[in-house]
Symmetry: C2
Subunit: 333 residues, 2 copies
């Protein structure tokens, strides 16, 4: 097996929009696992909007700095183990970064089941699916008959949120950009309505699509769309705050949405921020639900798989521009 | 008894800051109660920041329009009753508006106990005390040892929030404007620390006063202070959104606080908007708690009582400028 570790390094922290030029390729020696560690071969790298947020400063993880191997989560295979917890051939999800080989402490990793297709371990059974599941059900708390709106609805998380809401008996409205996504949502994924935020006045379009107001808004984007939803919330509505992709790809944070906190008070809203690891104790039950829905055909999984380590910078730039449909990942090996 | 009903009418909806000129006096005939109604003599009118919000548009009540008798809640005495539910001499809290006499349906009113001083029915045992109680305990959910911050801390609600938080074993930090309020908070009301938002960089002062971050923020003001607190929240912190007085006294809503929703996500915050009537079913238990704390001396009640119907416009303008300490009201009869 190759001794070389091919890497993508963050050459420079972007001050404005992220571009492929902010990255560079590097080659290092294949790392060697120490006691308690495993050597991992990276199979698929997950692309996530949060990758960009990590360049802005400390979030729920420490900030990236120039010269770092770009951070990112991957589906990886154990090739060599110096821990009794894992054996060669085991699959894990790990924060490997954008490289072909990585070393990690075994105690931080959990063995994943082999399945076909393997990519589902990064989409519906990975962070995306669990984020959709916990954000919607634990933070949004939808009740049958309620109206659920999700932004970035054609994305990895949003496409699953809308379908779970439908399974739970809700009326579902997706916000996405462009006619192709609009058609995907209503024709393929079973949304009751879709709002194209590139087609004009989102606040007005939401009012038309949600005449009784929004009971649950699953926010992936922040910014103007967050504001448009806030003004359309029904009394006692809930907003699950999952991410703010509209805010990541630029310099300093802009002004926040109008109506905060005034509309939160008058409409008696609850806004809940979360990250998926907050719900680790409920993971197995969530995975069982997701599996049953996928197997019954109620939940359709969309994936967007690119090829080759070198395609990672462009894949992230494109994700931030909203070009993917479903879970985007890059097959590395 | 006088047949005249002296009134303060909202002459004009303010476009910018509210001023006494936006009101005018009027005299009408004393109203006559119909079947099921009572005639009320207004004793004390409550002054609330929400009075100003009602001029901006529909909130949890319909908007005020020019020519309306100014809306407001009062402690009033039943003088004539055409309902078996209430008798002359009974005290009630009612949405009488700014006038000396009012008529209201008895079914909307609840008889209050006579007590000394009567003013406590508008402060600690009224909307202010219950708002503090429910907002802090039901929305903020403080745990002993946590850091609780409240804005407008010398006001009717804030002065009670801080004291309840202290009773519950929290570290309490009040935000208020000016040295006099600062001294009141730390010397008289038992706050552990105070931040004077007029003295400079509030975000930095909060960081110094709350080195481990803010676990619970009770927001009465919105705007820049909300933003300063948001940036100082601890992970898994809670924000009780009670009002946004900084946003009421002007024209169109400004941009919202930065960090929304980004910091809500990364810090895993919960923001809960509420109004006091959401908790009507828990009112008796709350009043019993408040009474026991007042009687034991753990909870000190501050009131700011002005005299005469004609002083109402100036009293509201001054309240919006933060000139009151404790619950502001006007004795009308």
């Amino acid at each position: 097996m190759s001794e070389d570790n091919h890497q993508i390094v963050l050459a420079e922290i972007p001050q404005g929009k992220l571009a492929p030029e902010h990255f560079k390729s590097a080659v290092a020696a294949r790392p060697t696992p120490g006691d308690g560690e495993v050597l991992l071969k990276v199979l698929y790298v997950s692309l996530d909007a949060a990758n960009r947020a990590w360049m802005q400063g400390a979030t729920y993880r420490s900030a990236l700095t120039a010269g770092d191997v770009m951070a990112g989560g991957s589906l990886a295979e154990v090739v060599e183990s110096r821990s009794p917890a894992l054996a060669p051939g085991d699959l894990v999800f790990a924060d490997t970064g954008w490289q072909t080989w990585a070393v990690a402490p075994a105690r931080r990793l959990a063995k994943l089941p082999r399945m076909e297709p393997l990519t589902h371990l990064l989409s519906v059974y990975g962070v995306a699916g669990l984020t959709a599941y916990f954000g919607l059900l634990e933070c949004g708390k939808p009740r049958p008959g309620e109206t659920v709106v999700v932004s970035a609805a054609a994305g990895a998380v949003g496409s699953i949120v809308g379908q779970i809401a439908k399974i739970k008996g809700c009326r579902t409205v997706g916000i996405a950009g462009g006619a192709a996504k609009w058609a995907l949502l209503t024709d393929e994924l079973g949304f009751d309505a879709a709002v194209d935020y590139k087609a004009g006045d989102t606040r007005r379009a939401l009012r038309a699509a949600c005449p009784d107001g929004i009971d649950v808004y699953f926010d992936n984007v922040g910014g103007d769309i967050f504001e448009a939803c806030l003004f359309n919330m029904a009394n006692h509505g809930r907003i699950a705050c999952c991410g703010a992709v509209s805010q990541y790809d630029g310099a300093a944070p802009r002004a926040g949405p109008r109506g905060v906190p005034g509309l939160i008070v008058t409409k008696r809203l609850v806004l809940t921020g979360f990250i998926v690891s907050d719900f680790d104790d409920k993971r197995q039950a969530a995975l069982a639900d997701l599996k049953s829905w996928v197997e019954s055909g109620q939940l359709r999984v969309r994936e967007d798989v690119l090829e080759g380590l070198e395609s990672l910078p462009g894949a992230l730039v494109g994700l931030l521009a909203g070009e993917n449909i479903g879970k985007r990942m890059v097959k590395v090996a």
